[in-house]
């Protein structure tokens, strides 16, 4: 009799353990799903990143990049910081990027809200606003090199039109490039807007809210994580854009072939600054990020 009680207790105990380990096993199994991604990430992003840190402390030569024969300490960093040109370029490109982000995100949200409405020709407009992303890469660089999106083209248009006097060329050109930069954000917002349950709008409509009120009290709170996502995306996008002057300097340094150390140092300084900006941003907007 005593034995069976003991056995029962043991059974209950083992069941308890089994349950715990069930939860754990589930988490472990779930974690397994992330392995393919993690593998690629570690191989092709993390390791090159770590190696580039060590490169920034050496003076590598092209023929033997990882011999690490000539340690130079912080010399590369000192060189980058002391160069007056780099500092100026980095700070000015930071300023431009930071100023662009709110405009891009606000414009994207506005357009996405409009594009969500039912109206004739909606698909055509969606395609039009997405064209810059479709053209991304080779073709966009080719167009940029040709002068589309720069002052010359827009001022040319403006000069030939009657209203040229009150629309200055540089204003037009910045409107144009901002719009081209916001396509991805428009797409993300459009997809996010679809995730707002229609029933919420029904409820506030029954309560007598106007479209304006329902935007501020239903739509915006619901998609706030996506607003933050888009802000980060827009920030990063403008930081690593190939048209960004810092990126151009980096390309020059690596293509000259001998200055890998300096290029690594500059890109790490740049990346840490970017990281700091985004960290501050995330900390500030934490309460909206569910």
């Amino acid at each position: 009799m005593a034995k069976t009680v003991k056995q029962k207790k043991k059974l209950a105990h083992s069941q308890k353990i089994a349950f715990m380990s069930f939860e754990r096993r589930r988490n472990f199994e779930g974690g397994l799903f992330a392995i393919p991604w993690l593998f690629g990430f570690i191989c092709f992003v993390c390791i090159p990143l770590v190696l580039s840190v060590s490169v920034s402390f050496y003076e590598p030569v092209l023929t033997d990049l990882y011999s690490f024969n000539k340690p130079v300490g912080f010399d590369n960093y000192v060189d980058v910081i002391q160069d007056p040109e780099y500092g100026e370029v980095v700070f000015s490109s930071f300023g431009t990027s930071l100023a662009k982000v709110p405009i891009i995100v606000a414009f994207a949200l506005f357009v996405a809200v409009l594009l969500k409405q039912e109206f004739p020709g909606r698909t055509v407009f969606r395609v039009i606003f997405f064209i810059p992303v479709i053209l991304a890469g080779v073709i966009m660089t080719y167009l940029m090199a040709d002068g589309v999106g720069t002052l010359s083209v827009f001022s040319n248009i403006v000069a030939t039109s009657e209203y040229g006097s009150f629309l200055s060329g540089s204003l037009m050109s910045s409107i144009g490039t901002t719009m081209w930069a916001s396509s991805v954000e428009i797409l993300i917002f459009l997809a996010a807007l679809q995730s707002v349950p229609a029933i919420l709008y029904e409820v506030v409509e029954l309560d007598g809210a106007s479209a304006w009120e329902s935007f501020w009290h239903v739509t915006l709170p619901y998609i706030s994580p996506f607003v933050i996502l888009n802000c980060i995306y827009a920030l990063v996008d403008s930081f690593v854009d190939s048209q960004n002057p810092v990126m151009k300097i980096l390309n020059e340094l690596t293509q000259e072939g001998t200055k890998y150390g300096m290029a690594s140092a500059l890109s790490w300084i740049y990346m840490l600054m970017t990281l700091a900006v985004i960290l501050i941003f995330v900390l500030l907007t934490r309460r909206w990020l569910r």
Partner: protein, 289 residues
Amino acid sequence: MFQVDVDYLKRAKKRRDYAPWVITFFLTFAGIISALPIVYLIVTAFKPAEELFLYPPRFYVSNPTTKNFADLFAISSDSLVPFTRYLFNTVLVTVCYIFLLIIVSSLACYPLSKHKFPGHKGMFSLITTALMFVSGAAAVPSYLIVTGLQLDNTYLVYIIPLLANPTCLFLMKQFMDQVPDSIFEAGRIDGASEWQLYTKIAVPLLKNACATCIILTFGSVWGDAATATTYIYDEQLRNLAFYMNTLQGGLARTGANSAAGLLMTIPSILVFVLSQSKVMDTMAHSGIK
């Protein structure tokens, strides 16, 4: 009382009527500016040689011609490797890449969002960091790793190094976060395995995010000339974007090049038009309340 309500509704309906016009007007204005690059691309493809070199470039063409396309076909017919081979390579690589990317990203986003496995927070901050990864400086280390794994000069080099795409994972995780945990708990109570939860619940719910990822990545893979330039030595394995790039350079080929640019863009636009309705489909239909 009832009468008043009907009147109110009528007025509300009337008031709303002009809204589409305002929307259309604004969007037309913004749309014209957004459409300028594609307009330029199309116009340039039909420009005769003397108009191609005008500075500043024009957004219209005075004497349209199809000579550029004829030039392009003439050049491609006497290239070393047949044109269709480049096309085949690009299509194969693009299809495989997008298929694998969707699988890898959705697999990773499911536990990242729904399981608190050890280190999930660290992984998420890794992704956000990777999003701002400045690729310029790490180009050389990446090259060494790819050649070290002997991926160079194979089709795999187009696919594997780019599979861990942080943007896609970030996007998918954000969508997954919107799906309530209770759906998965319900599945778990009904005895579904993790794999079943993933294939039967997570994947169908992620359709919109997948479509978004396809749209975002298609253009970059389709037009990826850098990979072929860096890692592929065998002409047979190079892709269309690389071939189009070789057309650049040489004033005589500028016309053919602009025609090539237009032809390269058409598939991307088709993919967008075909999958955009998926992105726009309401998630409300998918059982999320």
